[in-house]
């Protein structure tokens, strides 16, 4: 059956048809849909774990028990899961295990553009890298066999363009997902020094065997041009851009398994061409390997380690003329992403900005509190860093900082890795004020359930974390809840908790306005006769409010009647 699938759905279908029994993941763009599509199958177990480390360990447990398992995450999620990954390389697997990791070159929705291939090399595990949905399906499906044959977890590397591009896939049938027998094997699975010392040589032997097999791997393919002048080694979406521009005018070695790399295949290919190029996005991983073989090659001097490529990148590097184009001379204002009309985060950020509070931020929709006109954030580093960072900031600057600095973190991010930071605030004692922006969903990645929502990945009722009780249990005595639509309540809470000489948590609680379960109110209207053009309502940065003919106006198609602007208007111009 031929279907047009996004890469992530193709991965899900490949894993499912490859006999998958369990998937545990934490959402992260551009990897999220892999697990969402897997969750549509009722004959396997799927779940959202609180973070990537938990997810990978759950997948390990299932593999240990004899089941084929997977976990999917974005590139920075693999940093969180790196701890189990490096030792999983030593234990190997029982049931096959595939770790899907999606890189985000050009940082469409990420805080850095790290290259996950380094993890495959460092952890000494094989990695596969598809270039379209058909390959994503085939590679994912066969990754389990590779995993079981070589007794190793297998990394499947996606990138934004492959993960979110649709192309045609010919789907097969699901393989029987038999659970292998479990037998106790301490030497293999208990990684204490005595055992791990015996496993390390096994890992080295495995890598050597895989490197040899890579020369015949069906996913490393050679296309020779008639003239043999230009030779290009490439992989993933770079291959697509190369083919788009060069067609069959250049010889191409396409690497489908970027770790370990095929030495003999590369040497043979290099010997057949006059000039050799390596074209790969992000870091010079293949290029460095080729150089280590003593082969002359052109790579990063022509193809930047920064951002995404396109067919234009390749054409320009080979001196081909860019197609003609026409553009406007008028300035075209940018359209950056922003918090939605009625977003519950807005009221809290407005209050923080108004009171000139220093705000250590975190990862989620609320990172958008950083953009004008609110400009409410001071830092965003990684998942959970707001709380731990605040503690360090307050230790460094003392009481002066404690009275005017907060951390903001979403409900899902708090579950992911904010809790441990909060324990540290209580245990190592700063009078820190932490604001949990509880919008009752994992927002930015597209509305996934999490342990605070009371529902699981299928939308079925599940155990619900009581955030207030949790914070108290972690050692915070001062815990209060505010409605971020109530600006006065926000201000009072912030002022009182910053003044308190003990650590505190403010839970800013209101569900994401985009949730289907949220009933919105009719749009508000501004009476132009009452509007004095003071632009106070404009300071909220609400996309529904703009100035027309010197008066503020509310766009009725966008406004959800949250009423935050109404509280700001000193002239009573805004009404229902």
């Amino acid at each position: 059956m031929k279907k047009l699938l996004i890469g992530n759905q193709a991965v899900a279908m490949g894993l499912y048809h490859g006999g998958l029994g369990l998937a545990s993941s934490y959402p992260g763009t551009p990897s999220t849909e892999i697990t969402e599509f897997l969750a549509m199958n009722d004959d396997i177990h799927t779940e959202w774990a609180p973070n990537e480390k938990v997810a990978m360990e759950v997948a390990f447990g299932a593999s240990l028990a004899g089941m084929r398992s997977t976990c999917a995450m974005k590139h920075v999620g693999l940093n969180v899961a790196a701890d189990p990954l490096f030792t999983l390389s030593y234990t190997g697997v029982n049931g096959g295990m595939v770790v899907c990791v999606a890189d985000d070159p050009a940082m469409h929705s990420s805080q850095n553009e790290q290259d996950s291939r380094h993890y495959a090399i460092a952890a000494k595990v094989p990695m596969l890298e598809p270039a379209d949905s058909a390959e994503a399906y085939a590679f994912a499906r066969s990754a389990f066999e590779l995993s079981e044959k070589y007794d190793t977890p297998v990394l499947l590397r996606m990138c934004t363009r492959i993960a979110h591009s649709q192309s045609i896939v010919e789907l097969g049938e699901r393989e029987a997902a038999d659970v292998k027998p479990y037998e106790k094997n301490p030497g293999k699975y208990i990684m204490m020094p005595g055992n791990a010392k015996k496993r390390h040589p096994v890992v080295e032997d495995r890598t050597a065997a895989l490197a040899e097999a890579a020369n015949d791997c069906i996913y490393n393919t050679v296309e020779m041009a008639a003239d043999g002048k230009i030779g290009i080694i490439t992989s993933g979406c770079s291959y697509l851009y190369v083919k788009e521009v060069m067609g069959d005018k250049a010889s191409i070695l396409k690497i489908g398994m970027p770790n370990p790399l095929p030495e003999k295949l590369i040497r043979d290919f290099a010997a057949k061409v006059e000039k050799l190029y390596v074209i790969e996005e992000l870091d010079p991983v293949i290029e460095n390997f080729v150089r280590s073989l003593g082969i002359e090659v052109t790579g990063k001097e022509l193809f930047s380690p920064i951002g995404e490529f396109s067919q234009q990148t390749i054409a320009a590097a080979f001196g081909l003329e860019a197609p003609a184009s026409i553009s406007a001379d008028s300035a075209v204002p940018g359209r950056p992403p922003m918090m939605c009309a009625g977003c519950p985060h807005r009221g809290m950020f407005y209050t923080l900005a108004k009171n000139k509070i220093t705000v250590l931020g975190d990862i989620g929709c609320y990172t958008l509190g950083a953009v004008p006109p609110l400009n409410a954030l001071d830092s965003t580093l990684c998942m959970g860093a707001s709380i731990s960072g605040l503690h360090g900031f307050n230790k460094a600057r003392g009481e002066e900082a404690e009275g005017k600095t907060v951390a903001v973190i979403g409900d899902s991010t708090f579950m992911h890795s904010g809790m441990t930071g909060l324990v540290n605030v209580a245990y190592n004692a700063t009078n820190s004020t932490v604001i949990i922006l509880d919008n009752s969903i994992t927002g930015m990645t597209g509305h996934q359930q999490n342990p605070t929502t009371g529902y699981n990945i299928k939308g079925d009722p599940a155990a619900k974390v009581d955030l207030e009780a949790l914070c108290r249990a972690l050692g915070i005595a001062r815990v209060r809840v505010v409605d971020p639509y109530d600006l006065k309540a926000c201000e009072t809470a912030i002022k009182e908790e910053l003044a308190a000489r003990e650590p505190s948590v403010i839970i800013s609680r209101r569900p994401c306005v985009l949730l289907k379960s949220v009933k919105t109110k009719p749009a508000l209207v501004i009476d132009p006769d009452k509007c004095k053009s003071c632009k106070r309502c404009m300071s909220l940065g609400c996309p529904a409010i703009s100035m027309h003919g010197g008066k503020a106006r509310i766009d009725a198609t966008l406004c959800v009647g949250c009423g935050v602007c109404k509280q700001l208007c000193a002239f009573d111009a805004i009404s229902e």
Binding site: L4, L240, E244, A331, V332, P337, M444, M538
Partner: protein
């Protein structure tokens, strides 16, 4: 057959996802090799969004670069201007004249270039601009702007009307099929 490149551009939340789904499925049914590429995540929060659709005998790159697009379908005027350089100089643009102020305009840091389409027309670009919102509302929902635009765009490509209707029936939830068929027709006949 040479690869044809289409871009669908607009503002996050305007419904370009359904338009690309409809178009992608239709082109697969017509027997072409097809690639559709879009970006999910942060940019969707009211930001500028772009979807690439490419079809032909064999399509490699999933994206479209400057001067390559045969067609651009724009859901909003400013976005048409933003991506104008992607259109082939003899390509065709179909533009909904709706204006949605971006944040820099809302906060007064920039002005909305209201006459930008006239400027681009004067420079020689083929631009078919019209109000897609009114027919969408007439069809039953302002959300149907996407299908009105697809109807207007269908006039420029060599795929029979009934094949589009069949694709709508496949791509849309049953209770919205009639409304979307009306929206498509209003765009096509406009």
């Amino acid at each position: 057959m040479k690869t044809t490149s289409i871009m669908i551009v607009g503002v996050g939340g305007q419904g370009s996802l359904l338009a690309s789904k409809l178009l992608g499925q239709l082109l697969v049914d017509e027997g072409y090799d097809v690639k559709v590429s879009e970006v999910h995540g942060m940019s969707q929060r009211g930001g500028s969004v772009v979807t690439y659709v490419r079809y032909g005998d064999k399509v490699y790159s999933p994206i479209v670069t400057e001067g390559e697009a045969d067609y651009i379908i724009s859901f909003e005027k400013l976005e048409a201007a933003r991506y104008a350089a992607f259109l082939k100089t003899d390509g065709q643009m179909v533009v909904n004249t709706q204006e949605i102020d971006p944040m820099p305009v809302i906060i007064g840091a920039a002005t909305y270039p209201t006459d930008v389409l006239d400027e681009l027309k004067q420079k020689g670009l083929n631009i078919d601009d019209f109000d897609a919102l009114t027919p969408a509302v007439e069809a039953g929902s302002s959300k149907a702007v996407n299908i009105v635009l697809m109807g207007r765009f269908a006039k420029y490509v060599d795929i029979p009307y009934e094949r589009w209707i069949a694709a709508i029936e496949k791509a849309v939830k049953p209770k919205f099929v009639e409304m979307n068929k009306r929206a498509f027709e209003l765009g096509y006949r406009s």
